[in-house]
């Protein structure tokens, strides 16, 4: 049973999310070092810390006729929405608040990044940033529906939108096992709303880092942190939705939550550098013609199973 505890999870949940994101950045730096032929020294693990120091010390920039209010608003929205999304994600058997509409809450917070990133692209009054902002909207139109159907499949199987109920409904068999298409669609969605790796289109190298191109200092730190916080949050949410939540033999529930989250996160981080960027002008067609029907068919499976129950 997922229970809501006192006030302290309000502090612990963001701290755990941040810790996961730091581990993910360090892991990514470790992989980058290996691929580049550098010895993977322990110092590589300090990369996230050095990045924070670098960006705190960096002077901020303003651009001519930039819309500073909207720019700042967009930049802040991305990481704040990521933190808000952990409201419903249980760690062990506790969540900050196990809302009865937890899945919808997570989905809504994720969609906030659309607004945030578009504003972050529009604000600086710079061509490459603008293109990057619009790229995220185009990418969103492609990834969002498969992600929504992927989210709704476990909810259908559990007949509840509460994340705790969904985790509990998997006592026999993990949803990832009998809903593999939904699981894969969900993981692709996580990479997409974190706009990392194959879904790094809005911040692509071809547009000189797109939405990130004009940000410096804390603004940049927040946007970058937002990406990795979202990746971590997505990995953590995969555990109650598809991997049986905190259930597991031997060790306590929180350990299982942490272990499963880190495993999903490791898979996601590993995948970042292994694929080319899926440009929205190609991916949109694939998503609508292949992924949407596939994920709808996947959602039909739990609906029929529930009827049979």
């Amino acid at each position: 049973m997922v229970e809501a505890a006192g006030w302290w999870p309000v502090l612990v949940a963001p701290a755990l999310l941040l810790a996961g994101a730091v581990l993910a950045v360090a892991g990514d730096a470790m992989l980058a070092a290996r691929y580049a032929g550098r010895p993977a020294r322990a110092a590589v693990a300090a990369v996230p810390l050095l990045e924070v120091a670098r960006l705190l010390a960096q002077q901020p920039r303003t651009l001519p006729k930039a819309d500073r209010l909207l720019w700042r608003l967009g930049v802040v929205t991305v990481p704040v929405a990521a933190v808000l999304s952990v409201l419903v994600i249980p760690f062990g058997h506790r969540a900050v608040a196990d809302l009865s509409v937890g899945v919808v809450w997570f989905n809504a917070m994720e969609v906030l990044t659309w607004a945030g990133l578009w504003l972050a692209g529009w604000g600086p009054n710079a061509a490459f940033s603008l293109i990057g902002g619009y790229r995220f909207v185009a990418q969103g139109l492609a990834y969002e529906l498969p992600l929504m159907f992927a989210l709704i499949s476990p909810a259908t199987a559990a007949q509840s939108l509460g994340v705790g109920d969904i985790a509990e409904a998997q006592q026999g068999l993990w949803f990832a096992v009998w809903m593999p298409v939904a699981f894969a669609g969900y993981l692709a969605g996580v990479l997409a709303f974190a706009f990392l790796g194959p879904f790094g289109y809005p911040a692509g190298r071809d547009t000189a880092a797109g939405v990130l191109g004009e940000t410096a200092g804390v603004d940049r730190l927040l946007l970058q942190a937002g990406r990795w916080l979202w990746l971590t949050s997505g990995a953590a949410m995969a555990v109650p939705l598809f991997l049986g939540g905190a259930a597991g033999p031997g060790v306590p529930g929180w350990a299982w939550s942490a272990l499963k989250t880190l495993l999903v996160l490791a898979v996601l981080v590993w995948s970042l550098r292994r694929l080319p960027v899926l440009r929205a002008d190609r991916y949109a067609e694939f998503a609508w013609v292949v992924l949407v029907p596939l994920t709808i068919a996947q959602a039909l499976v739990p609906a029929l199973v529930v009827l049979d129950r």
Partner: protein, 381 residues
Amino acid sequence: MDLTAPLLRAAAARPHILLVATPGGTAARLAAERQLRLDGLPLAPTPADAGILLVAGPDCPALRPALDRLWQHMPAPRARAQARTPEAVADAVARCRIELAARPAPGPASAPPSDGTEPPGGLPMAETAPDRDGLSLDQLHLSLGPFLADWPSGVTVRLTLQGDVIQQAEMGEQPATRGTAPFWAEPWARAAAGERVGAGEAARRRAAAHLDSLGRLLALAGWAHAATTARRLRDDLLDGAATGALRPAVRRFARRVARSRTLHWLTRGTGVLGADEARAAGVSGPAARAGGDVAARYRTWLAAVVRDVERLADPAPLDAAYDEGPRGRGDAGQPPSEALLRVLPGLLEGAELAAARLIVASLDPDPDELAAAAREVASRG
């Protein structure tokens, strides 16, 4: 308690570097890329992200205003250095890092840039023009180059965009530099001058040139792992690694990239340049042999690299009529890269911006060759 000093020291431990190569600076750029890769210093795509502006290559007066603009747009703490030769790179980076850590960052002037070319807000708004869909829509003018990550530096293409689709592309003027002979075509230049050059040496240079081009293309395609591998293999080749040591890694790399369905799906149908069309425009080399889209061109490079790696020890003299340079044959003082530039505008119009970047990278005109040609034109005229 003063926390600023330790913060600056921590920030200087891993600065991001805006690496800008000037035309004619390929050798220095290669040395810089190699060193930054081994030191683990990330390359910054824009001035906003950079702490160090590292200019690799000889002076180029025509490009100095653009370089200064990049510098003006960099936030503090920042440092700047130029490495004219490969040997100067290590020293330049080290000096910049010391400067970053030590200085309590007085910071660039917060006033607008002093050259007065940028009246804040004095710019016009975007204007409308008819679109290919028959609508009247806003146009944005955007220039790619002279200085852009993974771009043939010095080349300028002025784009007219509606949305992210290119309506019109115009080539800018090519700047001339005082400097050395083109790095990639050097064995062929020496052979043309009557010197005896081994075919193995030429094959090594050509394979490295193709891997350099592939590194750029794969980086633009966002495939970080493959781009890094291409650059590592390129550096190994230039270090003089033997065929036996390179073969497994090169084959594995070529197989993985050539067989990647994702990359093929993302690039097929873009930038189609038929073989006849290419020859008519004077294009020779891999772009003409491939006779197709971006995917055909990168596969041609990969096959050439695999072939060349087998020939590294070939002692026969280089026969330039049979063994082309990395970008093809230069005829009558016209380097092959010039022909590649000629076909560019036609390929770019109507392309999406990301596809346009891939098209340029798949033709990959050599800035060294272009600068040398511009130099000849300047000295003749």
